[in-house]
């Protein structure tokens, strides 16, 4: 099995242009983690079930393990590293801390990115919608109750404009 040649792919990550040389078979998740050293995005199953690798591509939450890096050509990618507000926690991150919505922290980046995408487009999401949207992100520590409370709590900030006006949205 010969290895097809690497490709040059250009996209932006958290508003910053990135150019990477990747094998066609490299997933976006592995590209972010190992080529771009953005290890905040985690890989929990590599078959699209656990949601740990969820990032935002062109404004929508997607599984980065179910997307090739070469497919990101020209896209705007947002990862957990882009959620901070300067040095301070963003509103969703702060709500996660306040509500003890994480323990081991491994699922947390995916939870945050799914929730960020959801609240950015649906800041009025009700509890059923939040639970439904998060049902594709698995957590083994928290039992989810703190996570759901945190997302509901963060809605106020999104209604007030958080999540809008980012360079990659």
């Amino acid at each position: 099995m010969g290895n097809p040649p690497a490709r040059t792919v250009r996209f932006t990550v958290n508003g910053v242009p990135a150019t990477v040389e990747v094998e066609p078979r490299l997933t976006l998740a592995d590209c972010l983690r190992h080529a771009l050293e953005l290890t905040g995005t985690h890989v929990g199953c590599e078959h699209g079930v656990c949601g740990a690798c969820t990032v935002i591509v062109d404004g929508r939450a997607v599984r980065s393990c179910l997307m090739l890096a070469v497919q990101a050509e020209g896209c705007a990618v947002q990862t957990v590293e882009g959620l901070v507000d300067g040095e301070a926690l963003g509103p969703l991150q702060a709500a996660f801390r306040r509500h003890h919505a994480l323990q081991c922290g491994f699922c947390t980046p995916g939870m945050l990115m799914t929730s960020h995408a959801l609240l950015s487009s649906e800041p009025d999401a009700d509890v059923a919608r939040v639970r439904e949207a998060l049902s594709g992100n698995l957590c083994r520590c928290t039992g989810y109750i703190g996570i759901v409370e945190a997302v509901l709590d963060a809605r106020a900030a999104y209604k007030a404009g958080a999540g809008k006006g980012r360079p990659d949205r």
């Binding site: 099995m1 010969g2 290895n3 097809p4 490709r7 094998e23 066609p24 078979r25 490299l26 997933t27 592995d30 590599e46 078959h47 699209g48 949601g51 969820t54 929508r60 939450a61 997607v62 599984r63 393990c65 179910l66 997307m67 090739l68 070469v70 497919q71 050509e73 799914t114 995408a117 959801l118 439904e132 949207a133 998060l134 049902s135 594709g136």
Partner: protein, 289 residues
């Protein structure tokens, strides 16, 4: 679970895509949203030499609502269906069923064409296309052909799409505004594979059901209709007795396989229960006058 080695191309036109598929003579696979193909590759259940990404070919992502029904381009995503301003009115069964597809982030990339080409009998879109008697538009170098859904699926994970062809569109027949419908799905968890789902619709004339369509998803090895159950209800009122007749016929005519998840008997019973609930919903849901 790293992907096997393959080459990748993102053609700008359909013709380029056909050429690439032809060059790799059956060893290339089209890539749309990748939500079914990528897990297959991760488990190395397929090792294609080339992925032909159709994501940059213009014109495949249109949703067209017309007098002859709804046309969905192959690259229409589940989120496009769910967020469309008038599709719920134009084809409520479709939108309801697609709401059951996988999870929020998957629905942001998964496509109509990818799901139909993957032909998973537990997936919603093939079931809806089959039940609604959709027409598939398949394109290749030699031109475009249309295939009825009943001829399109040839087995689990198998379709009539040729190695150098692409599914470009699915056409769902027109949906009368007063049509009655129900969609019931039972999975162990939201987004998990359906143990059984039923898509049901009929038109009501003079208090009785006509044109009864019952399609079963997930419970059997292939997408299928329930002709005996449909006949049992055809021309009858959809009341408790009518529903019971359809349920009994449905349970008698399906022959679900046994697997690690459930026995055949359980799935057979579940098919009946889903028929019962889908028809009850159809009979009671308010419809446009």
């Amino acid at each position: 679970m790293k992907l096997p080695a393959f080459d990748y191309a993102a053609p700008a036109t359909l013709d380029e895509a056909f050429e690439l598929l032809e060059q790799h003579a059956g060893d290339a696979r089209p890539l749309a949203g990748g939500q079914s193909l990528m897990p297959v590759l991760a488990f190395r259940l397929a090792q294609p030499s080339m992925l032909v990404d159709i994501g940059r070919i213009p014109g495949l992502d249109a949703i067209t609502i017309g007098g002859d029904g709804v046309r969905l381009g192959a690259r229409v995503r589940w989120c496009d269906i769910l967020e469309h301003p008038s599709l719920r009115a134009a084809h409520p069964l479709l939108v309801e069923a697609i709401g059951h597809v996988a999870h929020y982030p998957i629905r942001n990339r998964g496509t109509v064409g990818g799901s139909l080409a993957h032909a998973d009998p537990a997936a919603e879109m093939p079931g809806i296309a089959y039940t609604c008697e959709a027409t598939m538009v398949i394109a290749g170098r030699a031109g475009t052909r249309t295939v009825a859904a009943r001829d399109f699926f040839t087995g689990p994970l198998e379709t009539v799409i040729g190695p150098a062809e692409l599914l470009v569109e699915v056409r769902l027949p027109a949906w009368p505004v007063a049509r009655r419908w129900g969609f019931e799905e039972f999975a162990r968890q939201r987004g998990a594979f359906a143990l059984a789902a039923i898509a049901a619709f009929y038109d009501e004339r003079d208090g009785v059901a006509t044109g009864v369509h019952l399609g079963v998803i997930g419970a059997t090895g292939v997408v299928q209709r329930l002709p005996a159950a449909e006949s049992a209800l055809e021309g009858r009122a959809v009341d408790a007795a009518g529903i019971a007749a359809a349920v009994a016929a449905a349970r008698a005519e399906v022959d679900p396989p046994e697997d690690a998840e459930a026995s055949s008997a359980y799935r057979r019973s579940l098919v009946g229960t889903m028929v019962e609930r889908a028809l009850a919903a159809a009979a009671t849901r308010p419809v446009a006058a």
